[in-house]
Every structure is written in structure tokens, then in C-alpha cells.
């Protein structure tokens, strides 16, 4: 079947939606339903790689769907950063689908059809964000992502879920309607376009304090990047089942956030222009503050998922910090960290879910000695933790290296100090878990007569852990793409 890259790009967004319909139709036959999910994720993965292949050869795929307003259309275009994001989401959807099957069945969760359906819609929205060609397309899919993940977050349907759902939606929708939307309309009204262009579109139209204001409207408007103080939705979203936390909040939703921040900084403003904005250092300060503060809060959490959530907030701000340094090498670091964090964090969340499925334990203090009962799970957890801290042979080392190089090059001493400090903090909150799991004795009263988690779960988390190490040795694809990010002409 001869598919043009344009058709493939559209299919990347449409196949998950079609899968959603298939999942709904198969609600009485769970095995058919899971097959639809797996098949769809394999298809999307293949398509994403093919589109990447075309992009690598210099072909820019451009698709124009329809004009919503005169001059504003829903369009897609392949671009280095977007291709990286789509590759990550594509790979991890397949892995998470396998994991979810194990998890949802292992825990006998209710409403599995609704779950699988909305998951597919959320993936479609993520791909839409990754491949968007302009701000309005990004915004539309951004909102679709928020609303499609809401029922996933509140899956349990109880009082706690409802309250968490309110925080989730409250923060994300408030930021997107009150900050992001006016920023987009403002950009449209001064430049006449919302297209992502190398070197940005704002240059020449805005300068001085207003430029900084517009930048901050965008940065805080993208609540999914979880920069403090608009980060509250992430810990709240931990009430969701672990597959949701794993894919959406370690990978898709949060990555959509930092991806959007980086994309807008590079392709709407242009890093050259932002370097001239007054007080733009505050961007760096907010990111740095988030990194440190979130790590400190993580230290104090006993609930494993909450500790991971705050770790995510901290790691996301690494990407933002790297972008805030406004140097080409640090942008490469930002892109690499999107990949590194995705694989590392999803492994950690998979492990948390695996522990819960096998033993119903959620608190770190309960985990003494669990490494010996669940070696695969805790082994994978260790690898994920290494990636977060930034120790070889995990890929997190490479991305941190580039962010540090970027900071050195731009003479941002504060950023260097923050990165070093947070590495220490990361170690401080991950190492004790690993130590307790492998070297502490199980307490006698712990209901610990369980074994490893079900096979699909172990398969999934081993795969992502393996990829974390693989990417360290073969960082070719993400690295190449990251270098292709077109930062335009710099003064």
C-alpha cells in the first residue's frame, strides 16, 4: 500500500480516533477490544517511524485540514521537535497498552471500555499537538487533551476522584482560557499569523516589557508544563489508575506541556528575540525554583506515586530551564530530556503500578525487602531512578550533560548550581527507596506473600527500562533530530 507522507501524518491522528470507535463497538468482547488497541498502537508506531524517515530525508510533510476562521486553519507540519515528541508518544502508547491490559485486568477495574476509548482519544490529541503547524491547532488539541483525560483521571468515580478532578480541570482550564488563549489572540492580532516559523513570528511586532508579558502569558498559560505555581493539578491527578499516570502524566500530558513551551519559545518568539526581552531571566528563576522546590517536597512524600509526581514536576522544569537558557545547545538538551524523562519516568510509574497490583502497597515505608520478591520490577525501578538522577548507563545522563553544556556556554552559573543541587536531591529521594527494597528486611506483619506482577506488566516495564539503557548507547535518532531543531538566525 503506497501511502504518501501526508496521508500517513493524517492517519497518525485519525487511527487512534478510529480505534476509539472500534473499542466502543467491542465493549462486550474484552479480548477484541484489547486487540483493537494493540493493533492501533502498532499501526501508529509504524506510521510515526515512516514519517520520521521522510523527515530525516529532508521532506517536510505539510497537511492542511480546514480553515476555522479566515486566515486560521487547522494544519500540521513535521518539524524536528514535533517528530521527537510523536516518536516518544508512539513508542510508549504501545508499551502502555500492554501494561494497561495487565493492570486493569489484574486489579479488576471497572469501565475498562470507557478507559481504553478515552486513552485512544488522548493519544490522538497528543499527536495533534506534536504535529501541529500553528498555535490555533496546538490550542485546539491541547484543550481536547485536557477534556479527554479528565474522565481518565476521575476514573474511580468516588468523592476523592471528583475533588481531584476539580483541581485538575480547574488549574488546566483556567490557565488555558485566561492566559494561553488571550496570548494566542494577541499574537494573532499583532502578527496576522499563528504559524510556527524558524526565528519566530513576533520579531518586529513587539518589544520591551510587553514582549516579556506575552512570553509569560504563554509560559504560565501552558499549565501542563507544571511550572510552579500552576503545578497543583499533577499531584491531584495521581488518583488516577497507574496506566493513566504513567502514559499521560509521565509522558503525554506533561510532555505536551513542556513541548508546547519549547516549541512556542523557539518557533513563535525565536530565542534570538527573547534574549532581548527585559527581565526574561525570571523565566529561568521560576523554572529553577520549581526544580528545587518540587524536589524538596518529593523528599517528604511517603506515597510512592506522589513522590514520583513531584519528581515529574521537577524534571519537567529541567526542560523548561534548558529552554529558558535560550542557547542552541540547551535547546538540544531540552529535546533530549523530553525523551530521557519520558522513558525513565514511565518505567518508574509502571513499577509503582506493578507493586500496587501485586501487593496493594502504596507507601514507600511498606517497601522494605520488596526487591527480592519482585526483582524485575525493582530492577526496572532502579534503572529509571538512575536515569532521573543522571547516572550512566541510563539515557538521563546524556540529556543532563547537554543541558549543563548549554548552561556553561551561556554563562548561566545559577542554572549550573540548580542542576547540580537537584541531582543531589534526586539521589536523596530515589536511592533510599532502592536501598530499602533490596537491602532492608521485610517486616513480619507485612502481607507480603506475593510474587511478581502479571506478565504484561513485567513485559512493559522491562521494555521501557531496556530502552532507557539502549538509548544511552544508541542515542542516534533523538540526537539527530534534536540537532535539526531550527533556531533561526541569532544575533
Amino acid at each position: 500500500m503506497n501511502l504518501t507522507p501526508e496521508m500517513m501524518l493524517q492517519l497518525i491522528i485519525l487511527v487512534p480516533l478510529l480505534a476509539a470507535i472500534g473499542i466502543a463497538a467491542a465493549y462486550r468482547h474484552p479480548n477484541v477490544r484489547e486487540t483493537v488497541t494493540i493493533v492501533a498502537s502498532v499501526v501508529v508506531l509504524i506510521l510515526v517511524f515512516k514519517v520520521y524517515g521522510a523527515f530525516k530525508n529532508g521532506y517536510i510533510t505539510s497537511v492542511h485540514w480546514l480553515e476555522i476562521f479566515p486566515g486560521l486553519s487547522i494544519s500540521f507540519q513535521t518539524e524536528a521537535l514535533g517528530v521527537i515528541f510523536s516518536l516518544v508518544a508512539g513508542c510508549l502508547w504501545l508499551v502502555t497498552s500492554v501494561y494497561s491490559i495487565g493492570y486493569m485486568r489484574g486489579n479488576n477495574e471497572h469501565s475498562q471500555t470507557r478507559f481504553a476509548l478515552l486513552f485512544a482519544v488522548a493519544i490522538s490529541a497528543t499527536m495533534g499537538i506534536a504535529l501541529s503547524a500553528n498555535l490555533i491547532t496546538l490550542f485546539i488539541f491541547y484543550e481536547v487533551l485536557t477534556f479527554s483525560t479528565f474522565p481518565l483521571v476521575t476514573h474511580k468515580g468516588d468523592e476523592k476522584a471528583m475533588k481531584a478532578g476539580r483541581v485538575y480541570l480547574g488549574v488546566l482550564v483556567t490557565t488555558s482560557i485566561c492566559l494561553l488563549l488571550p496570548a494566542i489572540i494577541w499574537t494573532w492580532s499583532i502578527t496576522g499569523t499563528t504559524d510556527f516559523t524558524a526565528g519566530g513570528i513576533v520579531a518586529g511586532h513587539l518589544e520591551g516589557p510587553l514582549l516579556t508579558l506575552l512570553a509569560f502569558l504563554f509560559i504560565f498559560g501552558i499549565g501542563k508544563a507544571a511550572i510552579m505555581p500552576v503545578h497543583r493539578w499533577l499531584p491531584a491527578a495521581m488518583v488516577a489508575p497507574t496506566p493513566v499516570s504513567a502514559l499521560l502524566h509521565a509522558v503525554a500530558v506533561v510532555k505536551a506541556g513542556v513541548f508546547s513551551v519549547t516549541k512556542i519559545i523557539v518557533y513563535t518568539f525565536g530565542i534570538g528575540l527573547l534574549q532581548t526581552a527585559p527581565n526574561i531571566d525570571w523565566f529561568l528563576y521560576f523554572a529553577g525554583f520549581t526544580i528545587i522546590m518540587a524536589s524538596i517536597v518529593a523528599l517528604r512524600q511517603d506515597n510512592l506515586k506522589r513522590r514520583l509526581a513531584y519528581s515529574t514536576i521537577s524534571q519537567l522544569s529541567y526542560v523548561v530551564l534548558a529552554t529558558a537558557i535560550l542557547a542552541p545547545i540547551s535547546i538540544v538538551g531540552a529535546a533530549l530530556h523530553i525523551v530521557a524523562h519520558a522513558f525513565g519516568k514511565i518505567t518508574l510509574f509502571f513499577a509503582a503500578g506493578s507493586i500496587y497490583t501485586a501487593s496493594h502497597k502504596t507507601e514507600i515505608s511498606q517497601l522494605n525487602g520488596i526487591g527480592l520478591r519482585m526483582p524485575w520490577t525493582m530492577g526496572a525501578f532502579t534503572i529509571g531512578a538512575l536515569s532521573m538522577i543522571g547516572i550512566p548507563p541510563a539515557v538521563g545522563f546524556i540529556s543532563k550533560w547537554y543541558v549543563l553544556m548549554g548552561a556553561f556556554q551561556a554563562h548561566q552559573t545559577l542554572a549550573i548550581i540548580i542542576i547540580i543541587l537537584s541531582t543531589l536531591l534526586n539521589a536523596a529521594y530515589f536511592v533510599p527507596i532502592i536501598f530499602a527494597a533490596f537491602f532492608k528486611k521485610e517486616s513480619a506483619d507485612n502481607h507480603s506473600d506475593h510474587r511478581e506482577a502479571p506478565f504484561p506488566i513485567v513485559l512493559a516495564l522491562s521494555t521501557t527500562a531496556f530502552c532507557t539503557i539502549l538509548l544511552f548507547f544508541f542515542p542516534g535518532i533523538p540526537f539527530e533530530l534534536a540537532e535539526m531543531i531550527n533556531v533561526g538566525n541569532l544575533q
Partner: protein, 492 residues
């Protein structure tokens, strides 16, 4: 035939109304009303096509020439609204039979449809006419029939709500006729085009000032501008839901049309905006309406009442667009007229389905119904999203253009307030979603099934229209652009 379209638009429903008396069977009357409404819709579409192709249509009634005779003037603005009103009336009539059968005994149903057709004729007459006194006549026809329609509600308070609306509506109409009378006194003509030519000479007189003031206040009463909105919540809550759907989508929109027509076409932009601080007054009242009504909506215990207050807030947005005083602002207002009509018609019609099964629209009765009435509440969710302004729905289109117009004018604090108003909408829409989907179902309501097809179908037609016009905005944007530019340009 095509030459007589403007008068046919109004005459067909007007004559159909008493004809209902001949048909005794209630089903037959409903069918007849539906066909009449459908025909009117067809006529309005033809008219719109004609206006877009060949410009302004001027039709003299009975061949009597203006300014002595009554003339009908159809330009892009009223053609657009004619399509909207007739479209909404046809779709709501589809749901009417099933819903009304529950409310009324067989012998009263005929009168319901007579009142409905008269209301429709009245609204269409206001839109089509080019004569000031004719506006008043049709305004009274539509108002009196809407008082009747509201009074048909099952709740005993419906009569009281109808009476309250009657009093306030009559005050409004009286102010309007005083305004028209004063204008006639000074210029000697009732024809709107002629008035626009003669008023500039006498514009500086106190009489015309007073006429303008009376007229504006009267119209604002009819369009439920805060704080003259007090009749609306009761009228919308206690009327039969089908009536609420129809009135919420049309009556206030037609009143806004009257405001626009008189301010721009009759009095003229310079007079209206320079002599009275109309811009500031409308800005303040529009914003006040948005916030006051949205906040009150959050605390309501009845879903219908909540949406009624929401309507007052949305009217505030429309007046905001008007207060900007630029062609972009009027375009935003006109877009929101259309979009809000679609939203509210869908929401109230969906509520008609809920009321049909439940006999109530209180929050505590509706708990957990999301599972038992999935399609009805899905429609309410989409309508709610539209109210919030989620992309891909019509609500987003209106919000976009309004904020754009405000930013272009440089009124960015107002733009910020508009977006904060959306947050309030999120709170009250979220209340409904939580009640329907997150609360446990009331055991008394275990027997409740999905709403009947006859109500669900029109609801979903409107919901799909909400999404369609949110994505394909070519029609609405093009027409409203032409209309707003012509309002600012030469007087027709």
C-alpha cells in the same frame, strides 16, 4: 412569487395561526404548525440568498409607496436573523408535540400552537419591517403571545411569571412607543429609512434626545440587559421547556436586532455614540450583567433557572461587543447572537427531555442521571462546553471574535474580564456535570429512561449544529462581516 417573499415571510405564520382553529385534532394542528414553520424557514433562506446576490430588498406593502405606505426592508442583517429564528422555531416544533402533550389537556393544545405561530409571526415581522410603528405592532403581537405561551407552564408559578413579564414587557413596549411617537412628532414620518434622513436635522433637540432615551430603555427591557432582566429567570424557568428553548433562542436576539437597527440605521452612529455616553453605559452594564448573572447562576438549585441566568450573562457579552463601537465588535455581537441561539436552544430542549421523564429539573432530582439518560446529558455536556467556549464549538468562535475585537480596540482589561467570565461559566456547567455523572442516582428515579426520540432528535440536530458551525465558520463569519460593515457604512 420571489418578489413577494418579504411579505410572505410574515403573512404565512400570521394567517396560519387562526387557521389552526379549523383543524380540531391536536396532532394535525402540530403538523400544520410544523409545516408552516418549515415553509417560513424555506422563505427566509431564499431571502438570504437574494440579499447576498443582489443587495438590499425593498418591498412596499400593497404597492403603497413609502414614506406613507409601510415598507419592508431586508438587508443582510435581518435576512440572517430571519433564517435563525425560523430555523430554531422549526426544530423546537419538532420536539413540541411530545413535550406539550404532557403539559396540556387536548382542547388547550390548539391554543398553544396558535400562540406559538403568532409569536413566530410577530418576531418575523419585527425583523422584516422597515417601518417604526410596524415594529411596535409586531413587538406587541410577539410579546402578548409569549406571555400566553409562558402561562401554559405546568407549575402554578407560570401564571405569575407570565404576569410579571407582562407588566415589565408592557412598560418596555410603552417606552418604545413613546420614543417612536416623539420621533414622529419631530419628523413627521414613521418609515425607518426616512427617519434616518430627517433625524440629523432635529438631532440636537431635547425631544429627540428624550425619544432616544425612552426607546433605548424600552428595548433594553425587552432584551433583558442587566438590571432590566428581572422578568427573564422566572419566565424561562416556569414556562414549558419547549417554549423556553424557543424564546431563549429568539426573543432577546430580536430585541438586540431592534437595538442595532435603531442605533445604527435610524439614529446613526455619530448621534448614538456621541450624544449619550452609550458606549460607557453599555460597557458597564454588559460587564455587570456577565458577572452578576454568572455568579447567581452558580448558586441555583434548578437547572432551568441556572441556564436562564446564564442567558442574561451571555446577553451581557453581546452588549459588550456592541459597546466597543467598531465593526469588529458588532461582528462579534452578531456571531454571538447566532451561536448563543444554537447553544441555548439545544440546552433547553435537552432539559425538555429531562423534564418529560422526571417532571422536575432540580439538581437533587437529576443526580446520577448521566447513566440513565446518556444522550440527553451528553447533549447538555456539549452545550455546556459551547457556553464555556471550548474550541470546536460555536461558543469558542464568539469568544475568539469578541476578545479579538476588544484587543484591537485596546481594551485589554475588558478582554481579561471576558475570559474570567468564562471561568464562572465553567463552574456552573461543571456543577451540572458533577451532579449528572458523579453523584449516586436517586433511588426514586430508577425507572427513568432515556428521553423519547421525538425530543432527542431535534436536540442532537442542534448539538451537531453547535459543533458544525464551530468548525465551519464560513457562513456565519461571512454574513456577519457583511452585516456589520453595512451597519457602519451607508444607511440602506
Amino acid at each position: 412569487m420571489t418578489a413577494h417573499l418579504p411579505i410572505l415571510q410574515v403573512i404565512v405564520p400570521l394567517l396560519a395561526a387562526p387557521t389552526c382553529l379549523i383543524l380540531r385534532q391536536s396532532r394535525l394542528v402540530w403538523l400544520f404548525a410544523l409545516i408552516t414553520s418549515g415553509l417560513s424557514f424555506f422563505v427566509s433562506v431564499l431571502l438570504l440568498q437574494q440579499v447576498i446576490e443582489s443587495g438590499l430588498i425593498v418591498y412596499e406593502l400593497g404597492g403603497w409607496q413609502a414614506p406613507v405606505g409601510i415598507e419592508y426592508r431586508i438587508d443582510s442583517l435581518n435576512a440572517y436573523l430571519l433564517v435563525l429564528v425560523t430555523g430554531i422555531s422549526t426544530i423546537t416544533l419538532l420536539a413540541a408535540q411530545t413535550s406539550i402533550e404532557r403539559y396540556l389537556p387536548e382542547d388547550k393544545i390548539t391554543f398553544f400552537y396558535i400562540a406559538f405561530l403568532l409569536c413566530l409571526a410577530g418576531l418575523l415581522g419585527i425583523l422584516a419591517t422597515g417601518d417604526a410603528f410596524n415594529v411596535f405592532v409586531f413587538l406587541e403581537i410577539s410579546s402578548l403571545s409569549s406571555y400566553t405561551l409562558i402561562g401554559f407552564g405546568r407549575d402554578r408559578r407560570a401564571l405569575w411569571a407570565s404576569y410579571q413579564y407582562l407588566i415589565m414587557g408592557t412598560i418596555g413596549a410603552t417606552f418604545i412607543i413613546i420614543g417612536i411617537g416623539l420621533m414622529y412628532m419631530m419628523t413627521g414620518t414613521l418609515n425607518m429609512h426616512d427617519l434616518s434622513l430627517r433625524l440629523p436635522e432635529v438631532a440636537h433637540t431635547k425631544t429627540i434626545f428624550t425619544a432616544f432615551a425612552f426607546f433605548i430603555v424600552g428595548v433594553c427591557l425587552k432584551l433583558a440587559l442587566f438590571p432590566l432582566h428581572l422578568w427573564l429567570p422566572n419566565a424561562y424557568t416556569y414556562a414549558p421547556s419547549v417554549v423556553t428553548a424557543f424564546l431563549a433562542a429568539t426573543a432577546t436576539k430580536v430585541a438586540i436586532y431592534v437595538l442595532l437597527r435603531f442605533v445604527f440605521t435610524v439614529f446613526g452612529v455619530e448621534f448614538s455614540f456621541e450624544h449619550l455616553p452609550l458606549q460607557n453605559i453599555f460597557l458597564a452594564l454588559g460587564l455587570a450583567g456577565v458577572f452578576a448573572a454568572s455568579i447567581v447562576a452558580i448558586y441555583q438549585t434548578n437547572i432551568k433557572r441556572l441556564f436562564a441566568y446564564s442567558s442574561v450573562a451571555q446577553i451581557g457579552y453581546m452588549i459588550l461587543g456592541f459597546s466597543i463601537g467598531t465593526s469588529a465588535g458588532i461582528m462579534a455581537t452578531l456571531l454571538h447572537l447566532f451561536n448563543h441561539a444554537l447553544m441555548k436552544a439545544a440546552l433547553f430542549l435537552a432539559l425538555a427531555g429531562v423534564v418529560f421523564r422526571l417532571n422536575s429539573s432540580n439538581f437533587d432530582q437529576c443526580q446520577g442521571l448521566g447513566k440513565q439518560m446518556p444522550f440527553t446529558f451528553a447533549a447538555i455536556v456539549v452545550g455546556g462546553f459551547s457556553l464555556i467556549g471550548v474550541p470546536l464549538t460555536v461558543g469558542f468562535v464568539s469568544k475568539w471574535y469578541l476578545v479579538l475585537a476588544l484587543l484591537e480596540k485596546g481594551w485589554w482589561p475588558v478582554a481579561a474580564l471576558v475570559l474570567v467570565g468564562s471561568l464562572l461559566a465553567i463552574i456552573y456547567v461543571w456543577k451540572i456535570i458533577e451532579t449528572a455523572y458523579f453523584k449516586p442516582a436517586n433511588p426514586e428515579n430508577a425507572h427513568v429512561k432515556e428521553a423519547p426520540m421525538s425530543i432527542l432528535m431535534p436536540v442532537w440536530i442542534l448539538v451537531i449544529a453547535n459543533i458544525y458551525f464551530g468548525i465551519d465558520t464560513r457562513f456565519t463569519v461571512a454574513v456577519t462581516q457583511i452585516a456589520s460593515q453595512s451597519l457602519f457604512g451607508a444607511t440602506p
